[in-house]
């Protein structure tokens, strides 16, 4: 890593002097494409996420059974590879005889909706505050930094539980609350980046051309923040999904009978030692979703990082 950084720096020193015809003139688009294709982590991560999003969208077509239909005669069936399993219920069934595969497939919808929704809510709060604090500085920055410290001092999950308990659980409430509690990372990163960009000469040039603060923020600063915002978004996606699962597991998130992976783990935990698949299967699904989001985020950070490009 260090090695490539140094040679990038060396390349940078030499390159801007080169004739542009000599440079081979890779456009930013071409460089981007090459970086994407050469980044295995990003390809795997985005592959997983893309697959899960497709599953969520086409859940009714893929699921072999209705995830809500209970059947007392086929309770707690083991998966097909265990003794007593059958191809009718490939991944077995739960305490109420509902098909486990179908419930997992429908659970994707909840997890992805909440992940995207909460990460978006956090994005709007965090980026707005971060850019304002970084751009204006002074007492505005002090006030927003105080807000940040206050938020960081609060125990997130406990607060979320209390809030859901007071407002009442529903998927929209969970999205709102998880989002409102996960904006700090956006704020920290965009504030620092904005401060750095603010001191560059092209901001002064824009001011000298008569641009207002709002025009400068939209036109000059936000485009430069885009790559870091995308990266944080994917990280927050994973965190929000885990937060939803925790809330559901604790009984204050998604309410039965809606299928949610966290809820399924909670429901399966009484029988964990005799029928481990009830806990293991939704756990694996969560694992893949979160690792997919993280790999994608890591990859995006590497791919969009300006090192060796914007200097």
């Amino acid at each position: 890593m260090t090695n490539t950084n140094i040679s990038n720096a060396v390349l940078n020193d030499a390159d801007p002097q080169c004739d542009d015809a000599e440079l081979g003139m890779q456009t930013p688009g071409q460089i981007f494409r090459n970086r994407v294709l050469n980044h295995r982590g990003f390809l795997i991560g985005s592959g997983i996420i893309a697959a899960l999003v497709l599953i969520a969208i086409f859940a009714p077509l893929i699921a072999p059974h209705d995830p809500y239909v209970q059947s007392l005669s086929s309770r707690m069936l083991p998966p097909v590879w265990s003794e007593g399993g059958s191809w009718d219920h490939i991944l077995g069934s739960d305490q109420n005889g509902r098909d486990y595969l179908s419930r997992l497939i429908y659970g994707t919808r909840v997890s992805i909706t909440i992940g995207l929704g909460a990460a978006t809510v956090g994005l709007f709060i965090g980026v707005t505050l971060g850019v304002i604090a970084g751009y204006f500085g002074g007492w505005v920055d002090h006030a927003i930094s105080f807000l940040l410290t206050a938020q960081l001092a609060l125990p997130g999950l406990l607060l979320a539980m209390a809030l859901v308990f007071i407002i009442g659980p529903s998927i929209w409430v969970v999205i709102g609350i998880v989002g409102v509690l996960h904006w700090t990372y956006y704020l920290v990163v965009t504030r620092a980046a904005t401060q750095r960009i603010r001191s560059q000469d092209f901001i002064a040039a824009a001011q000298a051309s008569g641009a207002t603060s709002r025009q400068i923020i939209w036109h000059e600063i936000l485009p430069n923040l885009l790559s870091s915002i995308i990266v944080i978004f994917t990280f927050e996606l994973g965190i929000a999904i885990l937060a939803e699962s925790s809330l559901s597991f604790l009984g204050v998130g998604i309410q039965p009978p809606t299928p949610s992976w966290g809820l399924m783990i909670a429901e399966g935990k009484q029988a964990m030692f005799y029928r481990p698949w009830l806990v293991v299967l939704p756990g694996i699904c969560l694992f893949f979703l979160v690792i997919g989001a993280n790999l994608m985020g890591d990859g995006l950070r590497d791919i969009t990082s300006p090192e060796g490009r914007n200097g």
Partner: protein, 605 residues
């Protein structure tokens, strides 16, 4: 004199994701004890890499080969990394870097940093090391050295830190000192002191010295020998006198003509067409041939020979006789303000005071950045504001641009007070060009967007008329149209600075304020930009306020000059008079410190 460093045929290549960069090729030189070698070259010429290779400080992907790499009696390539680290760097070869602000560790005292190496290597006891450190600090000119030992780097100025760095490298009494652009980050007056100091120390201790610089004048004054590097090769070397006064290689000649000189009358600078070559493939012919005005067909097909021009003066060129250097100075195209021209920009009694506090309730400190400054800029003239760092010249630029409001005093543009104007109205009067072309363009926008932005902000014209204005503006600054849709990262420093000027000109402002427009650029690129400013004066009667620290640049382009020192104007007048006959002590000091050399050019007549 015994040879201390002998390098023959040094090659450095770096493997990059896109291929192999042949950064340094076939570099040979020797240095004797007490001798100094200046390595001159523009950025990307491989001069720093050569120094780093001697110190084994290259990045890991680098591949170094040499037929000979002898330091004193050590054959460097056969030393293991461990043995090398123990015996060579610091102990025998000292190195000073460009940036004194970052080369000292901010969390340790000066004393600890200075004595650490000597004590750790068991060369001196702690007490002896401390005593030696005090002596050395005294020697490099730090007042009250004993108390200074317990201070931290942030308590010192840039010049003092560079002195500390020099003292630190001398702690272990090295036989060779490598100074990589030791004064580039410093003010002119400080630069002169540091260079004098290095010179004295070298003679005193019989050290060998490699002085790496992009500044030919610095090298001309301070070195016995010079090696001129271009595109990773030493294209000419020999004694300083011969190389700089009778250059044999066309590149050295063009480089010398590209430098603005303090002596003589100002004229057009020589510029080198084209750009620095790519080093991704080893060259088949002469590396300079594509830009050379004397090139012949064989220059492109065969490597040029190393030709001696008397003594050890070598040039890598096919020409047997160096081309005659013409002393013909082409007159500048632009002319100054006409008599009775109106004032475009007037500052009256501008005072700027900053307040700083230590902690929340600490005492208020007052910093007077500008103290009662008055100046006026007439239509069609170029007014230079000269001063060192801390003189308040950049604060003045921000105030004149209307970006900050002065504590006292007024700025008016064509008779209208600046505070009564809206942002876009102001923009049509005056536009900035900044020093660093790498930070003055938004990296996420295409050139067309960057140049069109001021028009968009004013809501001027439709798409077609804007495209026309952009193209006209790009033509003014000699940027080819094919660059219209590129991003700044794809351009060279000089091209970026042209874009910045094009953006400033697109709204046809009354005046430009250029804040050190060429100090981040290479000599040959600086020549292009200064010539461009001259063209613009001739073509459109450009009115320009030029802020700079470089006396030679003032001489080259300014009609009038204002000298600033610690927030005040100490001298003002026509450039020619002020430079020839300075009245104020500070101006005299500035002029004396400016490195200068006048190559004796052979007359064509």
């Amino acid at each position: 004199m015994s040879i201390i460093l002998d390098i023959q045929s040094l090659n450095i290549s770096l493997s990059l994701p896109t291929g192999t960069l042949h950064a340094v090729r076939d570099v040979s030189f020797t240095i004797a004890r007490g001798e100094s070698l200046g390595i001159v070259g523009e950025s990307g010429s491989g001069k720093s890499l050569t120094a780093l290779a001697i110190m084994r400080l290259l990045p890991r992907g680098a591949n170094v080969t040499a037929t000979q790499l002898m330091f004193d009696d050590h054959d460097l390539p056969i030393l293991s990394d461990e043995a090398f680290a123990k015996t060579i760097p610091g102990v025998r070869i000292g190195m000073i870097f460009q940036e004194p602000m970052t080369s000292l560790n901010p969390v340790y005292t000066i004393g600890r940093q200075m004595t650490e190496a000597a004590v750790a290597k068991g060369m001196l006891s702690a007490a002896a090391a401390r005593k030696k450190a005090i002596d050395l600090l005294d020697r490099v000119g730090i007042p009250d050295p004993e108390a200074r030992l317990d201070q931290f780097p942030h308590q010192m100025s840039g010049g003092q830190r560079q002195r500390v760095m020099i003292a630190m490298t001398l702690m272990l009494d090295p036989d060779l000192l490598i100074a990589d652009e030791p004064t580039t980050a410093l003010d002119v007056t400080v630069q002169a002191q540091i260079l004098d100091l290095l010179d004295d120390l070298r003679r005193e201790r019989q050290m060998g010295m490699i002085l790496i610089s992009h500044d030919l004048a610095v090298v001309a004054e301070r070195s016995d020998k010079v090696a001129v590097m271009y595109g990773g090769e030493v294209i000419e070397q020999g004694s300083s006198n011969e190389v700089l006064r009778a250059p044999a290689h066309p590149y050295t000649q063009s480089l010398l003509q590209a430098i603005p000189h303090l002596g003589g009358s100002p004229g057009r600078l020589g510029s080198i067409p084209g750009t620095v070559p790519s080093l991704m493939r080893p060259p088949t012919g002469c590396i300079f041939a594509p830009r050379c005005s004397h090139s012949r067909p064989e220059c492109f097909t065969a490597r040029p020979p190393k030709r001696a021009h008397g003594g050890d003066h070598l040039a890598t060129c096919v020409l047997e006789q160096p081309p005659t250097l013409h002393n013909h100075v082409e007159a500048l195209l632009g002319s100054g303000a006409k008599d009775g021209a109106e004032d475009v920009l007037v500052a009256q009694n501008v005072t700027q005071v900053f307040y700083s506090r230590k902690g929340l309730f600490g005492p208020k400190r007052e910093i007077r950045a500008l103290d009662n400054v008055s100046l006026s800029l007439k239509r069609g003239e170029t007014l230079a504001v000269i001063g060192e760092s801390g003189s308040g010249k950049s604060t003045l630029a921000r105030i004149l641009l209307g970006l900050s409001v002065p504590t006292k005093g007024t700025v008016s543009m064509l008779g209208k007070e600046i505070s009564t104007l809206s942002g876009t109205e102001r923009a049509s009067f005056v536009q900035p060009v900044f020093q660093d072309p790498y930070s003055s363009l938004n990296p996420r926008r295409r050139l067309s967007e960057i140049i069109a932005r001021p028009l968009e902000l004013r809501g001027e014209g439709d798409h077609a008329s804007r495209t026309k204005a952009i193209e006209a503006s790009m033509e003014l600054v000699r940027l080819p149209k094919r660059l219209l849709h590129t991003y700044p990262s794809q351009l060279s420093g000089g091209q970026r600075q042209r874009v910045a000027i094009a953006r400033a000109l697109v709204t046809r402002p009354e005046a430009l304020i250029c804040d050190e427009p060429t100090s981040a650029l290479d000599v040959s690129v600086q020549a292009q930009i200064l010539n461009l400013l001259d063209d613009l004066r001739a073509e459109m009667g450009l009115t320009c306020l030029l802020i700079t620290h470089d006396m030679a640049v003032v001489h080259q382009v300014a009609d009038r000059v204002v000298v600033m020192y610690q927030g005040r104007i100490v001298e003002e007048g026509p450039a020619r008079e002020v430079l020839a006959n300075p009245q104020d002590d500070y101006t005299k000091r500035l002029l004396a410190a400016a490195p200068r050399f006048e190559p004796e050019l052979e007359d064509a007549e």
